[in-house]
């Protein structure tokens, strides 16, 4: 187990370097960021040169990358164009996005799996068909439509919630954005769980458990569900990284100042430091989430062993 983890951690190094390098190059290919700093007019050449020097843009790209990575390992992610440290931006953005992601994951796990179990056990009944239809609708409607629609209905028409999230972004204001963010994944989780449960219901170990006279609840939760969760856990694990970085649309609709907002702003202003910094952290989150998922397999299915 320990050796497995170490091996996986070492494997992360090339993935990490490759991903950050790619992002770094992509942002650089977009053109000269200083040109956008002076509004609709040309920066005067002297100031432009000074700014380029200050942000290290006057050096060749490979040098910029090496300097940047060197700084990252000492915890210095550079400075954004508005003079703020990128670490400061992260300190304000990540807690918000983590709260949002937690709520989204919670919805996926609780609602998604519950619906999956119910439909999986009642295959072909009206409940199953109804939920299937509902998930089909959710999957096919884009997030921004669901988001804007719910915002308009709940926020403006009925006045149940505030249409936008305040700058502190407490948990209760994030419930609706979290639900919107989770909606598509939630539908997938439901469908995955349903299929998996329906398949395993007919397996030998379930029949044995029932024959032993175990209570129904114990059969479902301990035997059936636990064995059916492996594909679901894989999906949710991969989803964590996706939710954190891919919340740009949801964060824009509800005016949440999280990671998506910073990334969007960074891309518009062509701010290499912000974009690369945030993506670097997201890459790390993704890698760690994947490792945790792999380790969870062993917990769920004792037949799986890592050496």
């Amino acid at each position: 187990m320990g050796r497995y983890v170490v091996r996986r951690l070492i494997q992360m190094v090339p993935v990490f370097v490759g991903a950050t390098l790619l992002i770094f190059l992509m942002v650089n290919v977009m053109g000269d960021p200083v040109a956008g700093l002076c509004g609709e007019r040309r920066c005067d050449p002297a100031t432009a040169a000074r700014l380029e020097q200050e942000f290290g843009l006057d050096e060749p790209v490979w040098r910029q990358y090496l300097t940047y990575m060197g700084n990252v390992f000492t915890g210095d992610f550079g400075t954004a164009f508005n003079g703020q440290e990128v670490t400061e931006l992260m300190a304000t953005a990540f807690p918000v996005t983590i709260r949002l992601t937690l709520i989204a994951i919670l919805f996926e796990v609780v609602v998604g799996i519950a619906l999956g179990v119910v439909t999986g056990l009642r295959r072909g009944r009206p409940v199953d068909t109804g939920v299937l239809l509902f998930t089909l609708v959710v999957v096919s409607v884009p997030t921004f439509v669901t988001g804007l629609l719910l915002q308009l209905l709940l926020g403006v028409e009925w006045g149940w919630i505030r249409p936008s999230v305040s700058s502190g972004a407490p948990f209760d204001e994030l419930i609706l954005p979290g639900l919107v963010l989770a909606s598509v994944s939630l539908a997938y989780v439901t469908r995955l769980t349903r299929t998996s449960i329906a398949e395993n219901r007919r397996s030998d170990y379930v029949r044995t458990a029932v024959a032993k006279g175990l209570p129904h609840r114990r059969v479902v939760v301990r035997h059936l569900l636990r064995n059916s969760l492996i594909p679901v856990v894989t999906f949710i694990g991969a989803d964590i990284g996706f939710l954190m970085g891919g919340a740009i649309v949801t964060e824009r609709i509800f005016n949440i100042h999280g990671v998506g907002y910073q990334l969007y702003q960074g891309i518009l202003r062509q701010n290499t430091q912000t974009v690369v910094g945030f993506v670097t952290v997201l890459v790390l989150v993704f890698l760690v989430a994947n490792l945790v998922v792999d380790l969870l397999y062993a917990v769920l299915d004792p037949r799986i062993r890592y050496a």
């Binding site: 040309r42 100031t47 700014l51 518009l268």
Partner: protein
């Protein structure tokens, strides 16, 4: 706050029997002077220093926190004395400035001549990377403090001298008669010592001499400004303060306004223009701002800079149906341009409706003829380059191209050429990579006709992106700047503008309006000529 208003109304109702007049007087006086309003905002692009802020979002804050020597009247745009007691000159080149007595910064420090001179020296110095440094370019010694390349050889502008506690002199590098009228721009604001002594702390929480204090500032999300009760100026705020909230998307701000979550949203999104009247009724404002949209040409490309190509350019201008585009795409929030300035200047300031004449009218047949006479479009077709990331430019560029194609009866005469980001777009312009027409927008820095012409069309000027050059134009501008009589100066600038017209240096498209919508709590909402809400005049309740 709403609760408080209700409560007071109730009290008034009870008291009405006893002394109706008192409550009435207060009600007609308008609103609760202590009430705070919330307004939409965007994250400022640069650090909030006066000489470093060149966009409207940072400008909103500076407009509340600072007062300069001059201030532009929110209605007429005229430059009026604010901190300046008098600005005297005999030769349009040497100015003596006297600062009014009794002004202080909100931290108690007196505003003196030095507060200005130090601030201007800071703004001009190359070392400080100030985006607006070129504003000090008229002052003598700028080329030593801010050389084109290499290290600076002086720390302070030699043209600035403190001569007394409240007086200082300004020597310009050349004659510039309307220089005092430029001093209302934010870059010329005074700065307290705290700015220089603990710069980081100041940027985190700016201290100025305006009607509002910065109460708290959470970067990237919110700034709370409160009325400064001891503000010595004549334009004391009529509300308790303003909470500026950062919105990533103007649509969300609009939704929040509809839900009663926000009091003031400026910049109504294009998508909502159709229903804004029915949503807000008379709580919506749409007034001209000092913004002109044009299409510029790359004069560094020989195809656009040969004898006869002025006919092609004029022809293209005549092929654009401005009225139809502003009516349908912009819902009349923009007005077809008929000169190269802006209506906010007023007739006296140099705006002349119809100066462009037929060249800006939709004349498809004439357009076809002129382009043919001028040798046709270079390579048989043109492109219009624009940035696709902000400002919904794609819609109108497509419409302009359609209009040109229809006028010329050629489906392929004009095509849109989008560039991904604004920074990339600006980069290509700076590197002179444009081959066809490109979008050019100009938001005035100060309401002077000079500002609409010199920076854009003077040979080698800071925003002359197309590198247009014309000796006659340059000569007229030089003469206008030396002219001490304002009316004569304006006349000369208008003559220069006619040169721009005859050569069609850039195609004027439309004057842009500023827009704002507000909640029922507010009254007296106005936008100044820079399309910034005049926060201090807004009444709440």
């Amino acid at each position: 706050m709403r609760g408080a208003t209700h409560a007071r109304r109730a009290v008034c109702a009870v008291a009405a029997v006893l002394a109706a007049a008192a409550c009435e007087a207060e009600a007609s006086g308008g609103g609760d002077a202590g009430a705070v309003l919330s307004a939409s905002w965007g994250d400022p692009q640069n650090p909030l220093e006066p000489a470093n802020t060149n966009e409207v979002q940072g400008g909103k804050v500076l407009d509340m926190v600072f007062r300069g020597l001059k201030r532009y009247d929110p209605v007429t745009g005229e430059a009026k004395d604010m901190l300046a007691e008098r600005i005297e000159t005999s030769d349009s080149r040497n100015f003596t400035v006297t600062v009014k007595d009794g002004w202080t910064f909100s931290n108690g420090e007196k505003v003196t001549a030095r507060s200005f001179v130090d601030a201007w020296n800071y703004g001009a110095s190359l070392r400080n990377n100030q985006r607006n440094a070129y504003f000090f370019g008229y002052i003598k010694g700028y080329d030593q403090v801010h050389p084109e390349e290499g290290e600076q050889t002086a720390d302070t502008l030699s043209g600035l001298k403190v001569t007394g506690e409240r007086t200082f002199t300004v020597e310009l590098a050349q004659k510039f008669s309307t220089f005092p009228d430029t001093l209302g721009y934010n870059a010329f604001a005074p700065l307290p010592r705290a700015f220089f002594d603990d710069h980081d702390a100041w940027v985190r929480k700016p201290v100025g001499n305006g009607p509002y204090l910065v109460d708290s500032y959470t970067r990237g999300s919110q700034m709370s400004l409160r009325t400064w009760n001891d503000y010595p100026g004549p334009d004391k705020a009529r509300n308790g303060g303003v909470d500026l909230k950062v919105y990533t998307d103007a649509n969300t701000a609009y939704t929040d306004l509809m839900a009663g979550n926000l009091d003031l949203a400026d910049d109504i999104p294009a998508a909502q223009l159709k229903n804004v009247r029915s949503d807000l009724g008379d709580r919506y404002l749409n007034t001209p701002a000092g913004i002109l949209q044009t299409l510029a040409f790359p004069y560094y490309d020989d195809a656009w800079n040969k004898p006869g190509s002025e006919k092609v350019r004029t022809g293209l201008s005549m092929a654009i149906d401005r009225k139809q585009i502003t009516d349908t795409i912009f819902q009349r929030t923009r007005t077809p341009a008929t000169d190269w300035t802006s209506p906010v200047l007023g007739e006296d300031g140099g705006y002349r409706a119809g100066l462009c004449g037929d060249a800006c009218a939709y004349r498809p047949d004439e357009a076809k003829r002129l382009i043919r006479e001028g040798g046709g479009l270079p390579g048989g077709k043109v492109t219009i380059t624009f940035n696709a990331d902000t400002g919904s430019h794609r819609e109108w560029v497509n419409a302009v191209c359609n209009s040109i194609n229809n006028a010329l009866d050629d489906e392929h005469a004009c095509t849109a050429d989008p560039v991904g980001t604004f920074a990339d777009f600006r980069g290509r312009i700076t590197d002179r990579k444009m081959t066809g027409l490109f979008r050019a927008g100009w938001q005035m820095d100060y309401p002077l006709i000079q500002n609409f012409l010199q920076p854009l069309y003077y040979t080698g000027a800071s925003s002359n992106d197309g590198m247009w050059s014309n000796e006659r134009f340059d000569g007229l501008v030089d003469r206008a700047n030396q002219e001490t009589d304002d009316a004569k100066a304006v006349g000369l600038f208008q003559q220069a503008e006619e040169v721009v017209r005859d050569d069609m240096a850039a195609i004027p498209l439309w004057y842009q309006n500023g827009s704002a919508g507000w909640s029922e709590r507010l009254s007296d909402v106005r936008l100044n000529p820079f399309s910034v809400p005049v926060y201090d005049q807004i009444k709440v309740g």
